[in-house]
């Protein structure tokens, strides 16, 4: 049975009707991983035994007639989500042998539904990058063209879903790390509102920006997974107790009368013509469905990348100071305490992580703090104010997810400025703490996917899922073949 392009919603029906067993579904995906992941390199750890045990437990629950929406659904997890007893590397030599003593809350919630864990997937080291080429273990390739990057930092999650190695996956998004790889790999990825999903057990990069979310084959599947992982958590003081019933409650409802804002700065020369045209075509599709396009402006966009990199690197420098080789992580050598810590960090961290730590400590250091870090915080306030003004006159905002389609591997190596500026379309959403979803809106002349982002009001994930789903119903995706 070919499950490569199946959605979680469809697989749920097949499992419940006994058309397929949970063990058969797990085996099918494991065999696909064995057969084809050598071409894509999306997995760091395949948890075959765990998957079959999970499937057995899931089947018992299905047979007892009390299956939850994700019972027996085979998923993959980004390798920065702590999994009790299963290696969690963050794609870094620093955590190459790290086995967490506990599960992330999001993982615990999936376990409560008896999902099936297929394995841990690759990412940019400590989620710092947009290509998955900074991974120390698996430099993932794009399933649409294995000479191209899958995007990042959740490139392993997006590539695994795109290639048909799992039904869906969890990723994390600090500056676009769910949406951009979803765009590059032609899948749907949702970054929830900051505070919607607990960050407990997500290895910290930039704590005021990080958020866990799903990558799947449809907006509906993203909603199913968000239903499972959302909610306040006593272990994360920034998680928010905002009630929800079902993030898919608006699916299928008309978008007629909806106001969709088009911020002009996102459609400038920095964005490839093919991408611009494809997203605008999608905007006109919404018009045909009865939605109204509203012109607007986010004028701070020209400073957004700078604000994002200053804030995120400052937080990263602080968060990553815990890696000293003593309690866990790669342990270096040295006659003194200081020598040992430096050797651990020199050997454990890759070049991009070191650059971000240096930038963060520079921005926070005496004499530079006001000029850089405080200025970035001021910009954050301005960006939030601008988004609030747009949402006074619109329901959602439509933008390209990335300025280009997936680029060739190696193109951005050793050019950090080029790599950073490529995040222009996604970072403001994290700075403002808003929810956003990427879905595919077209393909370029070479057949590479183009993604668009629908940004919503805080805690209004249901409306962006509804909007993305409405477009997906009109669009025929071209799935990749390996």
């Amino acid at each position: 049975m070919d499950l490569k392009n199946i959605t979680a919603a469809k697989l749920r029906k097949m499992l419940d009707s006994r058309e397929i067993s949970a063990a058969e579904a797990a085996s099918e995906f494991l065999s696909e991983i064995k057969k084809n992941d050598g071409k894509v390199l999306s997995f760091i750890t395949v948890t075959e035994d765990e998957a079959m045990k999970n499937a057995e437990a899931a089947q018992k629950r299905i047979d007892a007639g009390n299956a939850a929406p994700l019972t027996g659904i085979p998923l993959a997890l980004k390798d920065n989500l702590c999994t009790d007893g299963i290696r969690t590397t963050c794609s870094s030599k620093m955590l190459g042998d790290f086995v967490p003593p506990y599960d992330a809350t999001a993982v615990e919630k999936l376990k409560a539904q008896d999902y099936t864990l297929l394995g841990k997937v690759s990412m940019d080291e400590f989620a710092m990058g947009g290509s998955t080429q900074t991974s120390a273990f698996a430099k993932t390739k794009n399933p649409y063209d294995t000479e191209c990057v899958p995007g990042g930092s959740s490139g392993g999650s997006a590539a695994a879903v795109s290639a048909g190695f799992c039904t869906a996956a969890l990723g994390s998004d600090t500056g676009g790390s769910i949406r951009q790889p979803s765009s590059f790999c032609g899948v749907t990825g949702l970054k929830p509102t900051y505070g919607r999903v607990s960050r407990y057990g997500l290895v910290a990069f930039a704590s005021s920006l990080d958020q866990i979310g799903p990558i799947a084959r449809s907006a509906e599947d993203c909603g199913l997974i968000l239903n499972a992982i959302a909610g306040a958590d006593p272990h994360d003081a920034t998680s928010k107790d905002v009630p929800f019933t079902d993030f898919n409650e608006k699916i299928g409802k008309s978008v007629s009368g909806m106001k969709i804002a088009i911020p002009k700065e996102f459609y400038g020369d920095a964005v490839d013509e093919e991408v611009r045209a494809s997203v605008m075509n999608a905007a006109h599709e919404y018009e045909k469905m009865g939605a109204q396009l509203v012109d607007c402006s986010i004028s701070t966009l020209k400073y957004a990348v700078q604000a994002y990199y200053l804030i995120s690197s400052a937080e990263a420098a602080s968060n990553l100071s815990r890696y000293d080789g003593i309690k866990y992580g790669l342990r270096g050598e040295g006659h003194s305490f200081d020598e040992m810590i430096r050797d651990s960090r020199n050997r454990g961290f890759g070049a991009e992580v070191k650059r971000r730590i240096l930038l963060g400590n520079y921005a926070l250091s005496s004499g530079y703090y006001d000029a850089y870090y405080r200025k970035a915080l001021a910009l954050k306030q301005q960006i939030i104010a601008e988004y609030n003004a747009v949402f006074d006159k619109a329901d959602v905002i439509l933008t390209p997810t990335a300025p280009s389609v997936a680029y060739k591997i190696g193109v951005q190596d050793n050019d950090p400025v080029k790599m950073y500026t490529a995040d222009i379309c996604t970072v403001t959403v994290n700075i403002a703490g808003l929810p956003a979803i990427n879905t595919t809106c077209g393909y370029n002349a070479a057949g590479m996917p183009i993604g668009m982002s629908i940004v919503g009001k805080r805690f209004d994930e249901a409306t962006i899922i509804q909007t993305a789903d409405a477009f997906e119903r009109t669009f025929t995706p071209v799935r990749c073949t390996l």
Binding site: A317, S336, M340, Y362, I384, N388, Y420
Partner: protein
Amino acid sequence: MDIATLDHICALSKLNFTEDEQKEMLGQMTDIIGLMDTIKDYDITYDDTKDHNEIGYGDLRKDIPAPSFPTEKLQQNTTPRDNCYVVPKMME
């Protein structure tokens, strides 16, 4: 960025570089700081009275002592000695 500043930041970051690595990193950090410098053009002041008003933070939970993880589980990622973490001598 000059070498002295890079050395200072490396000390704060607990990182070392070889001479060649330092040369490459200096060039890259100079480019990155050049990009960051453009925010100086934007005339805006941070208002700390507004901070955290826009993004909601949950109430802090009460600090109630509860059972933690077993010691052996917490020490599974290192080589402990007599239930202690081993570090090089810190004081002579």
